[in-house]
Symmetry: C2
Subunit: 355 residues, 2 copies
């Protein structure tokens, strides 16, 4: 007991005090806290914001150092004091389906790091239901809102009740130039796919895709044409086929393409289901993939790409990165930052055996 008291006394002597060891001018910063607590800035931030996964010891050590050197948060942590409820809402119109759940998962993870919790609401494309959810969320004094959807097409902006509330649209696009919309770069994704096929020496590249009322279909078509032009390859009559997002359409499209005199040596498909249907149809015709025809899909959905024979090359929309960026943007806006415009983020090419 005496020894323990002595140790505490020792710790309080000037020679050991963190404030003495603090050799910086001006008020202490989170960098000083991190250095003196012997942790990273990220860990210090988590401890100060009561977020993240930290041991009790680490958290208490950081808080003790911060107290001792008189640290007062002056960065994101302080700005986030504007976040009164430390909650945000997500309104989804995708029934939390295949495209939104990686986005929502990454967003929730990013916000949990800052100790901010996420309310989920599913409006399933019903404006009355969306309005009701919005009313409930506003009644709970959310600090911000994320709107996501199944289709990356334009939608009416969230109504006047949300005026002044930070809103981020992700995989969703508000018909409002003042809004921030984060989207995958569909055109760039298509360029990646077609440039890859051209680099593999393919000369007759077809594009089989979904319905043209999807903006993504129109943008990917633009990318397909641009990449053909860039590679000095022709656009061949009948090689662009728009249909539906299904395996059956992929099979049907192959039948159409192979009923022609001029046949493709590669098919860039608008999604992985179409690509899988195309692969099956080609195999059943005895056409070798990738020997005779190379195939690239879109979405990089493992259920399709890994079960396909051969495993499918595909374009990944990096939805988790998009969700994480939506979290970063919303935090910045809650802290007073301004963000607007349509921002398109790059896709990646994932090469497997089909090309």
């Amino acid at each position: 007991m005496a020894r323990s008291n002595n140790m505490q006394d020792d710790a309080a002597t000037p020679s050991d005090s963190p404030s003495q060891r603090l050799a910086v001018a001006g008020p202490p910063t989170i960098r000083d806290v991190a250095r003196l607590a012997n942790v990273s800035i990220g860990t210090a931030s988590k401890a100060l914001n009561a977020g993240g996964r930290l041991s009790k010891e680490t958290r208490e050590n950081v808080l003790r150092v911060a107290r001792e050197i008189g640290y007062r948060p002056n960065d994101l942590a302080q700005s986030l004091h504007r976040a009164k409820s430390r909650t945000i809402g997500i309104i989804s119109n995708d029934s939390f389906g295949r495209f939104t759940f990686p986005i929502v998962e990454a967003l929730e993870e990013r916000l949990a790091e800052e100790g901010i919790a996420v309310f989920m609401c599913n409006a399933t494309d019903d404006p009355a239901r969306e309005r009701q959810h919005l009313d409930q969320l506003l009644g709970k004094r959310i600090d911000g809102l994320v709107v996501t959807a199944r289709r990356a097409d334009k939608r009416p902006p969230i109504g006047p009740l949300a005026h002044g509330l930070p809103v981020v649209y992700v995989f969703s696009q508000a018909d409002d130039p003042g809004a921030l919309s984060l989207l995958p770069d569909d055109e760039g994704g298509a360029v990646l796919a077609v440039a890859h096929l051209a680099a593999r020496g393919r000369k007759h590249i077809a594009h089989v895709t979904g319905p043209e009322h999807f903006e993504a279909v129109r943008l990917r078509k633009t990318g397909y044409r641009a990449a053909l032009a860039e590679a000095g390859l022709p656009e061949i009559d009948g090689f662009y086929l728009s249909g539906v997002w299904s395996e059956a359409w992929g099979r049907e499209a192959v039948a159409k393409l192979f009923s022609r005199r001029e046949r493709p040596d590669a098919i860039f498909c608008g999604n992985d289901q179409i690509a899988r249907g195309a692969l099956d149809a080609l195999r059943e015709k005895g056409v070798s993939v990738p020997g005779d025809v190379a195939i690239v899909g879109f979405d990089n959905w493992d259920v399709m790409t890994l079960a396909a024979r051969p495993p499918l090359t595909s374009i990944d929309m990096n939805l988790k990165a998009l969700g994480r960026e939506a979290g970063d943007s919303l935090l910045d806006m809650i802290a007073g930052g301004a963000n607007s415009g349509v921002k398109r983020r790059p896709c990646s090419l994932v090469v497997r055996e089909s090309s």
Copy 2:
């Protein structure tokens, strides 16, 4: 103006007053409100609880009638006054994947009807992360908690911090006899599948399924054997094959089954991906489905069942109904009701062309 005032006066005369038209003994009930407002009890409940999708007129009419007859809520609406924050949490360990999202969607919809919002947290099987989420949720004074998971296997119950908090496990099973766990009836689902095949005249029914460390695999095997016995059919050596949850395993299992002298005339598959692999392998062998071999899957996942050739008969776990019941149970527990035990809810057979 005079006329309008007169009408209001008229409405206030005793002969027109709802309280005069109320011919019941005792305090007015929600049934009286509903009858006098000329709406269903459900609509009256929604209006009184500020939930659900109602027109402004309907809601105001119900509230006016309730005021006029002196209605005081004495049922769920009142009991839910115990719900102080009108929020609940969901902790998922499925990354909000294919199985949990219909559950979560239906749960959110049910609770939104009562004006209760849902916090979502994704713990991805990391106990430290789950604990952190739980701390955050408790800090927000949630009224209840739903725990869901990818596997319907037993898990440790939520820790002592949640003591006294209503908790429902759905598609997840707590290793605690006092906990309420809602699960699909895997054994009953298997019985449906095998009884259907037997009713179609199949005599040599194989079962190709996933890994035995899944409780669902063991339960479905029990159901398979029980249904064979019930139909007076033999269990044939080598006709039960446990592997992984993939199309590739479905194809491999067909190769195994057809390398034997005694061949199956039906295969009950443990999920739709295995079933799809089996279908593809049979088609490529020139074996007719359902002519020579009938196939039934499990999960009724449209991505698989509808793209399969032919479209796949499958067992539906009715996950939306499970999510809705989780909502009902949690509301009941928040209102003071007691619920415990493992409750298994029936699956459905969805017949398509493969059987």
